[in-house]
Symmetry: C2
Subunit: 487 residues, 2 copies
């Protein structure tokens, strides 16, 4: 049985089935939103497919695999459709699927050179390629891939904690006579606050910095907040800026925040999970000015570099800090003698022991195409957000809530006659839910200062102003239905 | 340009190239070890492939993709070869490559039902399927997949910390008047000790429990060690057992340790990253007796369930504890109203925000084949380890160091005349390095009580006693060379 299941024939046959089923999904660019299916129905279908599988029945096998892949595609999010504009997920460059297929079989963990020579080397190459745009000191920086933005943020804060309190790794925080604290913007990602809870600082020691009207950290009020925190007895050791906040895609003023961090001896971490991709564009790069002064930068290639999740890069300004995050003696832990091979090992810089060779899905398209498609795509998406903003401004029944810093736009539908805040908020939420269930478009909802707003994220280059126009019509239709029902 | 790169034609063409190149790798079961290449050479080859890529040149594209995949396969570990016996990596079931190809394009994060309905449902199904073997309380347990064994161990210890010190998530450890501590076996994985450093307990608060002659935790001496730790003022809250230690694959006595944990109110976590797979076998299951009493179990499907990395399952005895690991108010963090969809969301139980739909590569072969191939494979590997052990015992110049609890076997080569310990240790290391560089077999080296030993891990069902015999001959040849050079 095993010889059959592990045969080249099975591999080629199964992959062929996947190619035909998934090719259909990729090629279907009809305008559609979410086909949100009742979990009970998916559960019943999947349960039926789970029962009675038999390794020796090749014909049943082919039918069942096709049925599974069809169910997988049918119930999922249509990331290649121009109707899907609701989240920070993008349909990856198709060549990355060929890479993932190869990586599944080749089984090369990217933690040790010995186990994954090419992924280890590709990680170094991509670090250097992308740092040409980022501009960290070329002779000191390092980059390590890791399994998602949350893990990159955690690792960076761990390195920051280790720089300020090197003894804590061994002795623990319980013996510390200071109260370690970090400062973050009000719109920072939940993984930052979570890291404070996890690392033992405690969420109460997270200082929230106020935002300006564009929802970026206000550096002047931030300075006052840091002073107040110090006066309360908090020992601040890190400041987290965001390049591309989750709610509105805002980019914090990194030059001013780098000044603040430098004055106060704080580690500056930039969570550029979403916004990092803008750095490859000559036109957009200036929006990230100051990012090169960060001590660490987290950047999800699976967001604005259009590769499968998770592929997160963590850049350190100083490679010694990368090793300091996990303060273990490598020779003890890893039982090895340093040599030309181990110099390429990522394990000491990584939380993971067995790490997916995730860099391959970024390096391969970069090697094949160069930067051009990445530049064209991210510029198109950011341009589209501005176009949508201008389009909304020209409507009497829509209000954009900010001029986009990146590819995210929040707005509200404002019917005549005007509504009070609570009623308007309820209307936005109802619109979003109805748009979702009608299945033509998918948009998201976000609460800004406690008020619901609608949100679109441009991740797909096939989306045009015409699609945005159709979306606005859909919203008007839905809103009219809601208002009529209420009347 | 983008329309071309995102076309179905590119997808099918690129995947076709991957199929032919990777099919060759899969089909090559010649006996070979590591083709360890100088990083400078891989760097030069990869660097050359990185430069000058052009999206518009389809012929160049095909050649270059083929060259990249060939380099990837040629320099990597031959996991499907019977010569590769050195690490806990296995060549995955080929159907999983088709699944990974599909998952790359479908882009369904498994954190939210809305984004990944089938992966969310499959996670629940696989939890139930596998708990039939594990035997946790069916109405209370829960399972969540996560990105690797290290993250599963960390998450479990976080849940344990949260149960004992619920206030720490908010207030931090710095204010605590107790010294939280955990107890682990001497051979436990480094990720456990690391978690203590990371979570703010401090590595000095890790109590190391002594092992018996079979390198399993000795429960009697462990009890004394726990008493001594308490007398030193440590506040123990968790005990970590291992089912399949990294050095020798030993399985700690979980019944006795569960008793110890229950008496003392400790959270029992079982790191079954390696050994978990044995549970599906009627013949092997008894070796894991007591595992159902754990509060949490980490189990890497990418080890002994033969799917691509990372696919780790974290089982909790009580689902409320899963939610307690990350003590955030879900409605605040995730801005959502609980409904029939959100009931399937994994996000509140997961460290990750965007999580790979890793469960698909386990559920799909399980659905297609049922348990049979998993059972056949794990039984074969464990049987092979015992066979190899018996074979070694029959040789006058080899000594097996333990009777295998799972599929790992450590041993030493002992030439005539006898050597002192230091010389013998140096010889084992030299043998391992030469075997590696000759490229016929790959085995690993491990230090046991400070003494080097050779180590084989049986992960490939095509390995037979004949291959083990060939390996012993190779070791003899190499040892003779070393001893001759020294003389």
């Amino acid at each position: 049985m095993l010889d059959d299941l592990f045969s080249v024939e099975r591999f080629v046959g199964d992959a062929g089935i996947a190619l035909s089923r998934i090719g259909r999904f990729l090629g279907d660019t009809s305008v559609r939103g979410l086909a949100l299916t009742d979990p009970a129905l998916v559960m019943a279908a999947a349960g039926k497919l789970t029962r009675g599988g038999r390794p020796d029945d090749a014909a049943m096998h082919a039918d069942r695999l096709a049925a599974i892949l069809d169910l997988y595609a049918r119930t999922g999010i249509p990331v290649y459709s121009p109707g899907y504009m609701g989240r920070q997920f993008s349909g990856p460059l198709p060549v990355t699927a060929a890479v993932d297929l190869a990586s599944a079989i080749l089984t090369q963990p990217a933690s040790f050179y010995e186990a994954g020579p090419l992924p280890s080397v590709a990680e170094r190459i991509m670090g250097e390629e992308l740092n040409r745009f980022l501009g960290m000191p070329a002779d000191r920086f390092t980059m390590v891939t890791t399994s998602g933005g949350s893990l990159a943020n955690l690792t960076a804060l761990l390195a920051a904690r280790g720089r300020r309190y090197p003894e804590v790794w061994t002795t623990g925080l319980a013996g510390l006579d200071r109260r370690p604290a970090i400062a973050v913007g009000e719109d920072s990602h939940y993984s930052i606050t979570r890291a404070a809870g996890l690392l033992g600082m405690g969420e109460a020691q997270v200082v929230r910095l106020p935002l300006d009207a564009a929802r970026r950290i206000d550096p002047v009020r931030a300075a006052a907040e840091l002073d107040a925190a110090a006066a309360r007895g908090l020992d601040l050791f890190a400041l987290v800026a965001t390049a591309g906040t989750t709610p509105v895609g805002a980019i914090d003023p990194m030059e001013a925040l780098a000044d603040l961090a430098a004055e106060r001896g704080l580690w500056l971490h930039v969570d550029a999970a979403h916004g990092g991709g803008m750095i490859v564009s000559d036109r957009l790069r200036a929006r990230l000015a100051g990012i090169e002064r960060a001590d660490s930068i987290a950047w999800d290639a699976h967001k604005t570099m259009f590769v499968p999740a998770a592929c997160t890069m963590l850049f350190y300004r100083d490679r010694d800090h990368a090793h300091a995050a996990f303060r273990q003696e490598a020779s003890y832990v890893f039982e090895k003698t340093p040599d030309r091979y181990t110099a390429f090992d990522a394990a000491e810089k990584n939380f993971e022991c067995t790490k997916r060779p995730m860099i391959m899905s970024l390096w391969v398209p970069w090697a094949l195409y160069g930067p051009a498609p990445f530049v064209e795509k991210i510029e198109g998406l950011c341009d589209m957000a501005v176009q949508a903003h201008d389009l909304l401004r020209a409507q009497r029944d829509f209000v954009p809530l900010h001029r986009p810093d990146s590819n995210i736009l929040c707005f509200r539908y404002v019917p005549e006659p005007p509504m009070d805040e609570a009623a308007s908020g309820a209307l936005q939420t109802e619109i979003r839910n109805r748009v979702r269930s009608r299945g033509r478009f998918f948009i998201s909802k976000v609460d800004l200062d406690g008020q619901a707003a609608l949100r679109v994220v441009f991740m797909n280059h096939v989306v045009t102003a015409q699609h945005v126009g159709l979306l606005l019509d859909e919203i008007r239709t839905v809103a009219a239905m809601v208002l009529e029902e209420r009347a």
